[in-house]
């Protein structure tokens, strides 16, 4: 595997800086992770971290509304941002000679977002975000599966209990005061990681970073991290049936799991791939190809760090297949893996796929920068980007058995069945 070069620095104000030089293409990725996500939201403010992310594109002291996007695009760059449970990231990839432009834009909004805020902008982006929710959740078949699942896997008072997109009611209630408070609390250099990957001279890049970010004051009163503690097991199975406008029944299973970053998480990562990654995976081979029970299968392990992660999967029933039969066959495969562990061919397959996927992902400087920011923000350990393949390859059958046995079990499971509404009526 190629070794991702890493150089770490920190500014006086606490901004953590990671540099990874790669001059192959004349381009540079500028990536910022703020250590704030929807888990930091207070009751009645769900969806605010994400709405705030939208406000970061509405201009700052020296940038007009809409210009952040336009300036980067006109410079030949691509950019976006995303918000999730643990964090918010902002990312630009530009021609290398426009590096300073991206640093200036990111610093301007980190330093001086508030002078540009208006009620009109907030109202506009509130409407945009509500339409994002309608589009991705409310008007989509099975669209609310993840918010239903989070609400069932995590207790009411846990920060992962509510979805990142938030509720319409809470979005309606968001105010300019909320914007001011959130910015002052979380958008500080000592709560962020800045990563550069691509074509730059290290000395010049550091000089530019200092020029633009040194002046931004830290927040001396960063709040303590939210209490994420939660029992490792749910204690009993929760089953729900959801009638929806869907043509095919679909079953979702979810379990509390060890957090991202732990050895047990790595073992579940391997288990997830043995079960669901590729056409030779156990669930695809049996449910889709051999027994014609399922239209599709998907296994998803959430890379989140607070208290407990989620090991989830879904299977969509073929027409005429009783969901109970599909569920029973799915559980048989899960239990077989927990009992017997993966075979050598299983491990050989998923390790080689994982290695090729890692190489493909790290080919792109934007992805490399994002992973460096992620490992720094979540674990203060950017070098973990170079350990992904070895950590994965170190998982043996005993660890898979142990991790599956500890988490992927009936007394730690949410089972949600979407069924066609007319059939349920």
């Amino acid at each position: 595997m190629p070794h991702v070069p890493i150089e770490r620095h920190a500014l006086q104000n606490g901004l953590r800086v990671v540099l990874s030089r790669d001059p192959r293409a004349p381009a540079v990725a500028v990536n910022l992770w703020y250590d704030v996500g929807s888990k930091h939201e207070k009751a009645g403010k769900t969806g605010f971290a994400h709405l705030f992310e939208h406000m970061m594109f509405q201009g700052s002291a020296n940038v007009e509304k809409g210009q952040h996007f336009s300036i980067v695009q006109a410079a030949g760059g691509t950019l976006n941002a995303s918000t999730w449970l643990d964090r918010t990231n902002y990312y630009d990839t530009l021609p290398g000679h426009e590096l300073e432009l991206a640093l200036w834009l990111e610093a301007d909004r980190m330093a001086s977002l508030l002078p540009a805020m208006t009620q009109e902008k907030l109202d506009n982006q509130r409407d945009v975000v509500k339409n994002e929710r309608r589009w991705s959740v409310d008007n989509q078949p099975y669209g609310d599966w993840d918010e239903r699942m989070q609400a069932l896997v995590y207790p009411d008072d846990h920060p992962y209990h509510h979805p990142t997109i938030g509720s319409m009611e809470d979005l309606s209630a968001a105010s300019l005061d909320d914007v001011r408070e959130f910015f002052a609390t979380y958008y500080a250099p000592n709560n962020a990681v800045l990563t550069l990957a691509g074509d730059f001279e290290t000395g010049v890049a550091l000089e530019l970073i200092r020029r633009h970010f040194d002046r931004i004051p830290p927040n001396a009163n960063l709040p303590a991290a939210p209490d994420m503690s939660v029992d490792a097991l749910m204690g009993s199975e929760v089953r729900v049936t959801i009638p929806d406008q869907v043509p095919l029944p679909r079953i979702y299973l979810a379990h509390r799991a060890p957090p991202f970053g732990t050895d047990a998480f790595d073992a579940l990562d391997v288990a997830a791939d043995v079960l669901g990654s590729g056409r030779a995976s156990r669930l695809y081979a049996r449910l889709v190809r051999d027994e014609h029970l399922a239209q599709d299968v998907s296994v998803l392990l959430f890379p989140i760090v607070g208290g407990a992660s989620m090991f989830s999967l879904w299977v969509t029933a073929r027409p005429g297949v009783e969901p109970d039969r599909l569920e029973a066959a799915t559980l048989e495969e899960i239990d077989r893996l927990a009992q017997d562990g993966p075979s050598e061919p299983d491990l050989d397959r998923v390790r080689n796929l994982h290695r090729a996927h890692a190489a493909g992902a790290l080919e792109r400087i934007g992805e490399r920068a994002d992973r460096l920011s992620m490992y720094t923000c979540l674990f203060d350990a950017p070098e973990r980007v170079n350990e992904e393949v070895s950590r994965y390859a170190a998982v043996d059958p005993a660890r898979v058995r142990e991790a599956m046995g500890a988490s992927v079990r009936a007394d730690n499971r949410v089972t949600m069945s979407y069924v066609p509404a007319e059939a349920a009526a």
Binding site: P2, P26, A27, N62, K65, G66, F69, S70, I71, Q73, A74, A75, G76, G77, T93, P95, G96, H97, E98, E100, L101, W104, D108, N124, R126, D127, V128, V129, K130, N131, E132, R134, W135, D138, N139, Q140, P141, H212, R215, Q245, V246, P247, L248, G278, R279, A280, A285, V288, R289, H292, Q295, R318, N352, L353, R355, A356, A359, G360, E363, I365
Partner: protein, 447 residues
């Protein structure tokens, strides 16, 4: 430090050089050596897309392509999946209107084995009856799922309504429920036997290769591929006339999915570059007119955009937005207003410069991955674009003037002939759409 910083001198970038060969059997080979990579991407294209199938067999091209990964004469479906994935290779195989493609990306030391498996699956596929019936059922199920999804329902309905009856482009390239239902495994075998042949195929390899060694490798795996295939049929798309509004009723929808457009351009259109620059300005970048107005000013949508879909013949031009139900008629008016606006008020130099600079500046970023570079070679192979296409791409974009954009908009954007198609809750939006007098309205149930 508050002013916008100046850029330093740009470092030149050149699209990677490639070499072309033709094997004795007619297979055309494109090699793109990228010595600093550890991956290699292989894309095999054949002239076996949906444009090559007869209408009663619509969908046979797609099913044939998908069947290629379900086993060879030597390996059954499970063994083929196991064998490829244990090499870290996931083979994809699919078809579009103008070609079928089998492709994979692998670590460079797996190239030879990967080429061998690719050759085996394309030349000696199994066409197992049980696998055929499975894929056929999955395709029919996917159509069911698509019609429950408002965006996919709108896409399919738009194609059906915008083209004249009899134009193949009026359906999805993967076929309709009726046509797919009638397909047999023999039909896919016959389609494969007549359409998968070296003289109508291109093999593109980009990444960590030594060109001579790669060519020898390809010769070893594909040199004895025999047979000849015919070209594709000619499609002459025609549009149904005049402005019409079609409302596909989807009760309970909290948004309306809008698709507004008409016949667009083919890949060989003389105004191709003016058209793509104009479309980017109108609805291709974040600050485009459509997105700025419908999202950033009005908050009607999470995003509004538009694009041409150029194929060998003229595909559609479509403007797209999902808008909240309450503002449906206003949003349609605004969207049509932007189509009228690009004709009435072509861009000034500054607006155009921003878009041209984006397309030119972003050029190197499009070719970061080995598979991205292989994909960039595809239109050269499929549409016969000149070998220097990518070397001249940026100057072609840069030479598009405000006059060119105005002329392209005048010729290619025709709001008076646009079909306005939406999926939404008719009980809530029908009345206001009628009142808006956007054109004759037809309300149809969701299929």
């Amino acid at each position: 430090m508050t002013g916008r910083p100046a850029a330093t001198a740009p470092r030149p970038y050149r699209f990677p050089d490639f070499v072309r060969h033709e094997l004795a059997n007619g297979l055309r080979v494109w090699l793109v050596p990228l010595p600093d990579r550890e991956l290699v991407s292989v894309h095999l294209l054949t002239d076996a897309g949906a444009a090559s199938e007869d209408e009663p067999q619509a969908g046979v091209a797609a099913l044939t392509a998908q069947l290629l990964v379900t086993g060879t004469q030597r390996l059954d479906a499970g063994e083929f999946a196991e064998t490829t994935e244990r090499l870290g290779i996931e083979v994809g195989s699919e078809s579009s209107w103008d070609s079928a493609r089998a492709a994979f990306t692998a670590l460079e030391d797996k190239l030879s084995e990967g080429l061998g498996l690719l050759s085996e699956m394309v030349r000696t596929p199994r066409f197992d009856e049980r696998e055929f019936e499975r894929l056929k059922a999955e395709r029919l199920n996917d159509i069911l799922q698509a019609r429950a999804d408002p965006g996919r329902l709108a896409d399919e309905s738009f194609l059906r309504e915008v083209f004249s009856a009899g134009t193949p482009y009026g359906r999805l390239s993967a076929g309709t429920p009726d046509s797919v239902e009638s397909l047999t495994v023999e039909a896919t075998r016959a389609f494969h036997a007549s359409r998968y042949a070296p003289n109508v195929a291109h093999l593109i390899v980009s990444g960590a290769i030594d060109p001579d060694a790669a060519l020898a490798n390809i010769e070893a795996h594909f040199g004895d591929w025999a047979g000849t295939g015919p070209g594709h049929r000619t499609i002459e798309p025609a549009q149904r006339g005049g402005r019409r509004v079609v409302l596909v009723d989807r009760p309970g929808s909290v948004q309306s999915e809008l698709r507004v457009g008409h016949l667009g351009i083919g890949r060989g259109h003389p105004r191709y570059f003016a058209a793509i620059v104009m479309a980017a300005l109108l609805g291709g970048v974040f600050g485009s007119r459509l997105n700025r107005r419908l999202r950033e000013e009005l908050g009607f949508t999470y995003g509004a955009r538009c694009a041409f879909d150029p194929r060998r013949a003229s595909g559609p031009f479509t403007a797209t937005a999902a808008v909240q139900t309450e503002v449906t008629a206003d949003a349609i008016r605004e969207l049509i207003g932007q189509l009228e606006g690009i004709r009435a008020e072509p861009p000034a130099e500054a607006e155009l410069t921003e878009v041209r600079d984006f397309l030119v500046g972003v050029f190197p970023l499009r070719f970061e991955s080995t598979t991205g570079i292989a994909a960039a070679i595809e239109p050269l192979a499929v549409y016969g674009l000149p070998d220097d296409y990518w070397q001249t791409y940026r100057s072609n974009v840069e030479s598009v003037s405000t006059e060119d954009v105005a002329a392209a908009a005048g010729e290619l954007i025709r709001p008076d002939e646009a079909l306005v198609l939406l999926t939404g809750d008719a009980a809530r939006v029908r009345e206001e759409i009628e009142a808006a007098a956007l054109g004759p309205l037809e309300v149809v149930p969701a299929a």
